[in-house]
Symmetry: C2
Subunit: 426 residues, 2 copies
């Protein structure tokens, strides 16, 4: 039922006409990247293939739509199984404006019914992965923990953790993401834990820290900014000794505080105690802390909301009917008709220079002195998921490698043009 009312009314209307039997090609692409971004990261393909395998209409679903559909269409829905072919960019691949991220080949009804499911998953997960990748770049070699579950829908939170891990984050606070996708989970304590240790004599931060260390060991992370941070650091080392794993600072001017806390920790002999910072961090705040003695970042809101771009803006467009290219013609939303393939051209050094879209099945574009890497991979054949597709961990490695191929300016955080141009060879 994760589909739109109009997908079903379109199917009903088309089924009365021979056009419904025509083989179609639908493509997913983004007309543009979010404002000023240099690249996008494809996320969600793995989740989409899982969801596709479960996309069926049972008795409950059919009863729910019987009020506005004819008997023939209901019969068709009851037997619906996707039997077409899907090709696409792998998860963790970079994309640019126009990139044919997913290509669905099937009869009209078989393909159009998937529009909402495909776009929901790819638009959400790609938005999160794209934002997360910028944070990873900004953090350099320092790990980032995802802790944004509470700032987004409870199920979107799980997908966000997965997409963040794909993009290179180190761990998540979300336990369901750990269970479903094997993302390493992490976390220690919130301010509520320290506040709990308040008695008639007032706060007892040291008591809270002692209780945490007693249970979780000296390797734990103590949250030191509930009351006075300097006192908090002193209490932390008093409770755990200089072998304390880490302290976390969640508020205030994180750069200044990190330096003060580092000095204080070093003065107490806690040279190995790490500093975790969190609190409304985005890629710009992470970058601004590069010169500070920060060891680990925790990100939340900005990650799960795509850091200003909560959706990737991808669309699902019919581009070919019965071998004929088709395209909407009115206004500024012009599209390029015809099924497309794509290659990314790279210098011998490995640096990519442009993405070229060309008619699917046509000759692969060549450029002297450059390699041309094809970007689409078979994902589904005859309704069945292709075997041997990359794991989430492999996709994560692919992205890390792909980012290295961008021209230097392509990794810039500032607003700019896409890292490489998209050229249409039509």
């Amino acid at each position: 039922m994760l589909t739109d009312h109009y997908e079903l009314t379109m199917i009903s209307a088309a089924r009365s006409h021979p056009a419904a039997a025509r083989p179609c090609v639908f493509e997913v692409f983004a007309r543009r990247l979010p404002d000023g971004r240099r690249y996008g990261v494809v996320g969600g393909t793995g989740r989409l293939l899982d969801a596709l395998a479960d996309f069926r209409f049972g008795d409950d679903e059919l009863a729910a739509v019987s009020g506005f559909l004819d008997a023939e269409t209901l019969d068709w829905l009851a037997g619906y199984r996707f039997t077409g072919d899907i090709d696409g960019y792998l998860e963790g691949e970079l994309y640019f404006p126009g990139s044919p991220i997913l290509t669905v080949r099937a009869h009209f009804a078989d393909a159009v019914i998937l529009e909402t499911l495909i776009l929901s998953i790819l638009n959400h997960d790609s938005a999160i992965a794209s934002a997360a990748a910028r944070m990873v770049s900004a953090a350099g070699s320092r790990p980032i923990i995802e802790m944004g579950s509470r700032r987004t829908h409870e199920r979107a939170a799980v997908a966000s953790s997965r997409a963040a891990y794909l993009a290179g984050l180190t761990a998540t606070s979300n336990l369901e993401a750990a269970r479903s996708y094997g993302v390493p989970s992490a976390g220690t304590a919130a301010h509520a834990f320290t506040l709990l240790f308040t008695g008639p004599d007032g706060p007892d931060e040291l008591g809270a820290f002692r209780a945490q260390v007693q249970r979780l060991g000296t390797g734990t992370t103590l949250l030191v900014d509930t009351y006075d941070i300097t006192r908090g650091v002193a209490n932390a080392i008093e409770a755990a000794g200089p072998e304390l794993g880490a302290v976390r600072i969640d508020s205030g001017d994180l750069g200044i505080l990190a330096r003060q806390v580092r000095d204080q920790l070093d003065g107490l002999g806690a040279h190995g105690t790490k500093i975790v910072v969190s609190g409304d961090l985005d890629e710009y705040a992470i970058a601004s802390l590069r010169a500070e003695p920060v060891d680990i970042y925790g990100v939340g809101t900005s990650l799960v909301t795509g850091s200003g771009a909560p959706t990737a803006g991808m669309v699902y467009k019919l581009v070919e009917v019965d071998g004929l290219p088709v395209a909407k013609r009115s206004s500024h939303k012009e599209s390029h008709g015809g099924a497309k393939a794509a290659v990314r051209l790279a210098r011998e050094s490995g640096t990519v220079v442009e993405e070229v879209l060309y008619p699917a099945g046509g000759p692969t574009p060549v450029l002297a002195g450059h390699t041309a890497a094809p970007l689409q991979t078979p994902l589904v054949r005859g309704g069945q998921r292709v075997e041997g597709l990359p794991s989430l961990t492999e996709s994560r490695e692919h992205l890390r490698d792909a980012l290295v191929t961008l021209p230097w300016e392509g990794l810039g955080l500032s607003h700019g043009e896409p890292a490489i141009p998209t050229r249409y060879e039509f």
Copy 2:
């Protein structure tokens, strides 16, 4: 498993200490409204109460967390049922900075474990409801259809449809929201449907419209902007006659096009044919079309992304332990300790003037010549949902009535201060 790693490690650490047995009060509130907003709308309470009833740890869940938890905590989790009390603002109630939207009274572990679930649901649904309410205000008496499912996570889409309906939208494209929550669903056709009717002789828009009208009747909505809009309107009336239900325009300058299309429809005798507009509409675009002959709006991306504020930014804070107020003290994130109650004071005319927060259980604030409406309602007692809570439809009506009580400037779309101030009587 829709919880955070650190909720469980906190519980583990607290359980070794007598503090864990202390009765606690946690409060949900937003420190501020999204930039320049005048009010927030509480959304998600109904979904939260549903989710709370299902919040359990089964064998699979326990196995998944056994790697980092001690046996005692695992035992406790296995038997976990929420047995505390919850009070809160009803769905569809307005809220302002500091409003105690939800108050959870329970032992520490019983309450802290719910943080992520509570915040995920309330932050998401309130963000959507708050944005949607502004769109409804901007549209005046014209209906709005929610069609944003493809621009957000597939499950967040369902919750978004529900929140949008709560806020006064008329219908949704999302079939799962129709099934789960009784939101009326609507929809007709996309550009792909018209493009499908492309043969060797080129496009056949008239054929597409005829097929749609044949199956869905003359009351249907025909999408007229796939090719040339003027030609599209002519084809639409040729296919359906002047009794056609509506035409939809999804691109271009919607104000200019609406006027042209209205003139054309009237000229063809189709005086009753409505005009539906869609395409990147937000509350500002809706407002800018007030003087144009638009009958129905379709909104998508801006709705499901909260129109620039995709999360409500609510937090879940421990405010009382064993009857003693507690609060974080460091930096700018200061909070008011102690359990709070809230009333909204109104003139005899019904116009509200301020929201007053005061110690729970204390005397209700009074202001001469003003009424004081209490804002919190019992939602859960002893772990059981209170009977007789409002339905989604009743909550929808409550919001409609509540918006009428705001001072005029409180309904402004422009950036400004909260419609009424929040006063702390402490």
